[in-house]
Symmetry: C2
Subunit: 152 residues, 2 copies
């Protein structure tokens, strides 16, 4: 992955913030934990447990899948990553939490995922839903499926 100096610098800061958040709450900074957080930062995309395991393999010969599942649960529980699911996919995915609120563009051909930020998002819609149905929206998930520029 090619990174500019700025991006690298930002990533280091985010990594430090996450790691000190973990230690600050009395949890340990283990080899696996650090590696998993770095993988999420490095990829910047929603990853499944299988993705994380594959990414860990080169350096750390045999990391148990149970450990990875538990690490993902730990990071989610502490608000560092959050679960998302894509349409027609059976696997859980996670991405770093705490970034800007965004949605995903998923290419049907190459399966590439891009983030997208919508102007004004859906606040207006959610207000209208409350008015017309009495349903109070607390969260939403939105994903777009189609063909990316490279595949057209």
């Amino acid at each position: 992955m090619q990174l500019s100096c700025i991006t690298l610098f930002t990533m280091e800061r985010v990594l430090d913030r996450i790691l000190s958040e973990i230690t600050g709450r009395g949890f340990r900074l283990t080899r696996v934990r650090r590696a998993v957080v770095e993988i999420f930062l490095d990829r910047g995309l929603p990853l499944s447990a299988a993705d994380v395991i594959a990414a860990l393999r080169p350096g750390n010969a045999s990391i148990n899948k149970t450990t990875v599942y538990r690490e993902l649960a730990f990071l989610e529980e502490h608000g560092i990553i959050k679960e998302i699911r894509f349409l027609h996919e059976r696997v859980k995915r996670y991405e770093l939490a705490g970034g800007d609120h965004h949605h995903h563009l998923i290419c049907m051909k190459c399966r590439k995922v891009e983030d997208i930020v919508l102007e004004g998002d859906l606040e207006e819609e959610e207000r209208r839903i409350l008015e017309s149905t009495g349903f109070r929206v607390l969260d939403h998930s939105l994903e777009f499926v189609g063909i990316c520029q490279g595949c057209r």
Copy 2:
């Protein structure tokens, strides 16, 4: 399920249309096939394979799960139902295809699901996405999670 005469009449018409679509293409109208379509019409909500199996049980003592999975695949393949997945759920769900384009309100407390139709939907957003990223949106999925009127 309480139904008005109008609703019952409409359901009958929809059922007939679906069934004649199936026979018209040279497929058989079996006991299970008819029952599954009727269940979707009757419930009017996204159902999982387990839901369908449970709904079949009372009348049809032992319908094999393989049959149900294959029936759902058949109905999806022929555009009669379509797959949807809800956030944080691992199971596939299906709902009748061909109705108005809509989204779902999912109550976190009672798990009830309501349909919602958005004014103008997301056409405007999709046009903007094409302009700014070159990604051509062909489909989207949107669901709202929150608290329904009854649970507040």
